[in-house]
Structure formats: C-alpha cells, structure tokens
C-alpha cells in the first residue's frame, strides 16, 4: 500500500531540518507538531518528526486583501496555489530503500549493516516526497509488539500502535514528567503493567498515595484497577507501613513494615534536612554522631540529656545548639508509629528475595503520607537493597554463572525532586543509583512534576523521558537537558493536551514522538494479563487493534 502523500521538500539543511511544501488539498489541520512522518528520498527513507507548520503566500497582496467569506470558489482555488503551507520536518533516522522486487539489494544492505533505521547522516534532494507514515513504518522504527516492545499508544491523528522498547526502558533510569493533573500515575501504571507482563524487570514501587496496588477512583467516575488486581497476588506483593491498612476489606497486604532506629543512618538525616528543617550544621552533627556511636547513634542521641550533649560536643567539636535541635527533630521521627527502637532487616531482605524471584513489590504508605515518611522509608529500604545488590553483583562477577546474575530491578519513586535535588543527589542512595547502578542492573523510574528541581547530572543520566504537558520554562529546560533540537520539542511539549498525550524521547525510542496514550481500561487489563506477549503478525494486528482500542 502506497503511503499517503503530503507534499514535497523544497528547502532545508541537515542541522536545521527540511522545509516541505504541502500539496494543495492537504490541510495543516490534518497534521500535528511531533507527528511521525516519512520523507521518501532517492536512496533512503527518512523517518522524521514535524517540528513546525507555517502559512505562506506567493503574493503579499493576498494577505492584505484575503477573499471575502462568500467567495468559496476563490478560497478553494487559492489554497495551495497563491496561499500554501509549509511544514518543517526534522529527520531522525534513515533507512536504505529496498523494494521486495530486489532481494539481492536487501541482502546487500543487510551485509553492510545498513538494514533497519539508523541515525540520519544526510538529507534528501529537492522534491523528495513527504508522506504519512504507515503501520509498517511505525513498526520498522518503533518495533511491533513482542517480548521487548510494548504498545503505549497511537499517534495523535492515526490509529496505529506505537511501541516502546521496554527492555531498553528498564536498562537505564527513566522519568515520567508532567505538570500536576497530567495523569502521571496512570502512565506509570501503564508502563509498569507492561514491564510486569513481559517480565523484563522486577519492580519495587514506593507507593506514596496508595495508588498502585488496588483500584483507585478515576476523575469523572469509574475505577482503575491496581497492579495487584490485574496480575494477582502471586505476582504482585503488597507491603504497608500502616497496620490499619492490612485490615482493610478486599485490600490485603502481605506484610506490615517496621523500621528500626538502628536502620536509620546519618545519610537519611541529610536527605531529610529540609523536611526536618535542620541546619547544615545539624545535619553534619548527625554524621559526627554516627562516627562516634556507629549503628546505634540515633538511639544514643535520643537518650542524651543536656549534659551528655555537652559532653559529646566537647568531645567532637559538635555544636550544642545544633545537636539539641537535631535531637528534638529526630524525636519526632522516632515517634512515628512504624518506627521501633530496633528492627532487623529480614522484612526488607524478604522483599528482596521476592524481587529476585521475578515478582514485584509495592510498598504502600497508608496514612503515613507525609513526605518525611516517604523519603525516610524509601531511602532506608533502598539503601539496604542496594548493598545487597552490589554484593550479589560482585559474586556474579566472580562466578560468571548465569543463575547468579541479579535480575534487572527497577525502583519507582514519586516526588523525585525531593530525592534527587542537587544537594541530596550527591549524598543519597537514589543519587547513586541514578548515576551508577545501571551497571548493577538497578534503575530508577522517577515520577515528578518539577524536574527543574532535579540535579542536572542526574537528569542527564535519565535514559527515557515520558513527558506530559509542561508549561514552566525551567521544567521544560530540565526535561530537555541533554537532548537535541530543543525548539521543536519545546513546542511539542507546550502543544500537548493535559490528558493522555505525552512526548516520548530517549533511550527506549529511536526518535522523539508524540503519543496519545492507550486507555487504561478493561481491554488493557485483558491484554496485559494475558501475558502481553504478542508476536506482531500483520494479519493479526488489525484484529488485535480492534480488541485493544475498541
């Protein structure tokens, strides 16, 4: 089936992109910023994105004196002749054109490694034709649904599935961004479901608002299923900090988590510095205490009286006021219901064991939804898991046995800018994961509405960005850190709807693309619960699409 023709290339440069004059009869209204389109060159196909739309006139007088309302014929004729539209198009990938009639040429191409789309290195000549992408083109670039590829939605104006390479997605840390109200948690659920269904990684989800495990109410009525409901209790385990939650009807948890004072380290205090409103001196004092007292430093601090504080300060050159403040604040922490003086790590280790077994863990926070709780618990648990993981990895390096290789682990955190702001990023385990743990098969999925708060070095390590609508300039800047062709992507971001439209860019997609995300509904549940493995057979696809998107 031939591609639908949109126009011809009349101008362009490699860096700036191509200018395409739209054919008369093709309206700008049928195109969107960020649309995936194909330029058919002589030798190559160029997979490109629409980056701008412009209106032009061959004679300025038409603009000064446009045809009146009742001159329908005049307007119709002028469209595409005296007035016309151009589209700016940025090629991202190119692929050698081989027709099925030339099997030899195809084989040759394969030989020199030129088969399949590759990053673009040249531009087509004048009058190359711009076309709408067909299903095969999307499949060629983004892949078809299979063990690694997962359909996340469709282009804004066509009914063709766009797949994310989930294997590459989990290989690196990635981010789900968008201002509040853009449905980031739905997106997260979508992606997590895909990862779970295809078994590409084990997921540890720090569920601050109790959204991921069980049904939540949708805006506008109805319920959205949780991951445990979709995949079942044998696949998805739920832990909670809140024991009351464990007793809720129909929302069973597999364990209630307790944290011991002995599990809290000075590093955590650093992380919580802002939340606890501690001065940097106070934060530093925690370090001094830990040096002095080791694992029990917190308990020791809490037990100190004024005198003991003085003594300690004298010894260590710590600041008494700071120390007092620290003690005061940490007393609050100690009072949290889920904190006990002492706890063993076996619950956490159990979680880890579960994760290693290919299952998934959701940690709910119940009513403990203060940022303080979230950050503290997440940090402590993750630190523990990290250390275990590192040890495992080193063992694997020694034995080189496949079964010793730790599973890919992805940790999902919300309010990421709290964990990954420039101050915290250097000190906390999340910062470390973001920067280094990719090597050890541990990555983060950060969900955030304020990416400008995230440390830039960390940002640059974010492999795939799934971004909903953003309007804050600095947040847009942050999201586009380390990405080329910013003016277009910026425009694309600003043009997104607040719901169900995202821009995908980064490691898991060969080129940036705007996507209308698929619905998170009954059809979706069925699709993923069925294993999600769908080898893309063209005949099947139509039927499957019917099924998926109704």
């Amino acid at each position: 089936m031939r591609r639908k023709r949109l126009g011809v290339v009349t101008d362009g440069a490699f860096n700036a992109g191509l200018t395409v004059r739209l054919d008369p009869g093709v309206s700008t209204e049928s195109l969107r910023i960020g649309d995936f389109v194909i330029v058919e060159g002589e030798e190559y196909l160029y997979f490109s994105a629409i980056t701008d739309l412009e209106l032009r006139a061959t004679d300025a007088r038409v603009q000064a004196d446009p045809p009146p309302d009742d001159a329908a014929f005049l307007r119709e004729v002028l469209q595409g002749t005296a007035t016309y539209a151009t589209v700016q198009v940025k090629p991202y990938l190119m692929m050698r054109r081989v027709s099925p009639a030339e099997p030899l040429a195809a084989a040759e191409a394969a030989l020199v490694g030129e088969e399949g789309p590759r990053p673009v290195k040249t531009i087509p000549m004048h009058f190359a034709v711009l076309c709408e992408a067909r299903e095969e083109d999307f499949a060629a670039v983004f892949g078809a649904e299979d063990e690694a590829h997962f359909a996340v939605g469709t282009p804004l104006t066509q009914d063709i599935p766009i797949c994310l390479d989930l294997r590459r997605f989990v290989e690196r840390s990635n981010g789900i961004f968008g201002q509040s109200g853009t449905g980031k948690s739905f997106l997260a659920r979508l992606l997590l479901a895909g990862i779970i269904a295809k078994g590409l990684a084990s997921n540890l989800i720090f569920d601050m608002h109790n959204e991921y495990a069980y049904s939540v109410q949708r805006e506008g009525g109805g319920w959205a299923k949780g991951l445990r409901e979709i995949f079942g209790p044998s696949s998805v385990l739920v832990y909670s900090l809140d024991e009351r939650a464990s007793r809720q009807e129909g929302r069973a948890v597999d364990g209630v988590l307790r944290l011991g004072l002995n599990q809290i380290e000075a590093e955590d205090v650093l992380l919580l510095g802002e939340e606890l409103d501690l001065t940097s001196t106070a934060q530093a004092t925690a370090g001094l205490l830990q040096d002095r007292y080791g694992e029990d430093w917190l308990r020791a601090l809490l037990e100190m009286d004024a005198e003991a504080i003085q003594a300690f300060c004298a010894e260590t050159n710590a600041h008494p006021g700071a120390t007092e403040a620290l003690q005061r604040k940490l007393k609050e922490v100690a009072r949290r219901p889920y904190i006990q003086p002492q706890a063993a790590f076996d619950q956490v280790d159990e979680m880890l064991h579960v994760l290693e077994g290919g299952k998934h863990v959701i940690l709910q926070f119940g009513r403990h939804q203060r940022l303080l709780d979230y950050m503290l618990v997440a940090n402590v648990i993750t630190r523990r898991i990290m250390r275990q993981y590192e040890a495992k990895w080193n063992r694997y390096l020694e034995t080189r046995r496949e079964e010793d290789k730790p599973r890919q682990l992805m940790i999902t955190i919300e309010e990421a800018h709290k964990f990954l702001n420039p101050a915290a990023a250097r000190q906390t385990v999340f910062g470390t994961i973001a920067r280094e743990m990719r090597k050890f098969n541990v990555t983060l999925m950060v969900i955030d509405q304020r990416p400008s708060g995230i440390d830039t070095e960390v940002l640059s390590q974010i492999g795939t960005r799934v971004t909903g609508k953003m309007t804050e300039e600095r947040d847009i800047e942050a999201v586009l850190t380390g990405v080329g062709n910013r003016p277009f992507l910026r425009g694309a971001l600003e043009s997104l709807d607040t719901r169900q439209q995202v821009l995908l860019m980064g490691h898991a997609v060969p080129m940036p693309i705007v996507v209308q995300t698929r619905n998170y509904d009954e059809a979706f549940y069925q699709a993923v619960a069925g294993g999600g493995r769908r080898p893309g057979r063209p005949e099947d696809l139509a039927g499957k699409l019917e099924e998926l998107f109704g």
Binding site: V62, D70, A72, F73, L74, E76, V77, G80, T81
Partner: protein, 199 residues
Amino acid sequence: MTRIGEIVATHSLGFVAESFTLHQPPALGSLVKAPLVAGGEALGVVCFGETVGLQPGRRALRRSDEAVYDSAIYQEHPELVHTIRTEFHAVLVGWQEGGAVRQVLPPQPPPLHYSVAVCTPQEVRAFTERLDYFRLLLAAETPLPSEQLLAAHIRRAYADRGRDDAWLRRAAREVARLLKEEYDRLVTVLSGIAPEGGN
C-alpha cells in the same frame, strides 16, 4: 465543418477573420480552427469581435426612433447590411495534425482567405486536457486584458466540456500558479470563472 468566417489578416501570433454572420462573431474565448498549408489545423482562441463599416471613415449614425429600433432598423434601411461587416480576432494557442495536439505556436500562420471554423466539443475536450496553452493566452497582446480573455475562455471550455467541475478546478489552480505574483489579475480571472452560486 461549419465555416464561420474567412481570414482577412494573418500573422504568427493570430489572425483576423470576417464573420459570415453579421453581428455574430464566434463567442469570446471560444476555440476556433483554420487549416495550415503544410497540413493540420491551427487552433486559436477568439479574443475580440467588432462590427465596423466596410469603407474606412464611415461612422454609424443613430437611426432609431420610438417606432423603429433594433432589428426593424435593418428593414427600414436595407442597404445597411451591405455597408458593414463583422470581424473577429483570434490568438493562436496551438495546432493539431492527425490527432496529435501541440500547445505551442504553429510554425506558420494560417493562410489569408482560408476558412475558420468553430471547434467541436470533442475537439475542445481533447485540446483542453492539457493546460500549457494558458501561458500563451496570458502572454498574448490582445485588445482585451488577457486575464479577462482567459476567464472568458475557461467559461466556454467549461461549458463545452459539459460543466466539468473537476476540470474547472484544475484550470483554476493552473491559473493561480501562473499568476502567483499577480494577485489582482488572479482574482479577476477566478471571480470570472467561479461557478454560479459561488461554488
């Protein structure tokens, strides 16, 4: 072939013919043909028509009154029809020979005193399939502004083609292309060819 006139002046760009029917030259913009000595026929578009005295220097006098006017004038003055003649001008836009049509100026103009005929609807349809000759029409130096001539021609061809809307749009776009930097002339043409009711 119904002869409608005889060539009384001819040159490379067009010809002048005297119409056999007084007062009725062929319609403005219609396609006419005249034989070429070397073979085939030259094709032209009627670009002007006039009725003038046979002898130079004779002017038309007002002859009507309350009782006698219009065609009655010619009854009243039977000598009048012998003192005037109707002429039309045509601008050459192509030539045809043995079924092949070419939209360029013929190598030689049609000969003096040869007959002119109106092209049949089939011939019009065949010729107007391609629109390259619009360029020749627009460039022609005629008493009529060439954009008005083009509009008249397109209207006639549209009618001869049985009100072919698809062709009309194709023609309109071609005109828009040719006059892309002359908006005022373009609007003159397009307003002149817009189908009734504006659409």
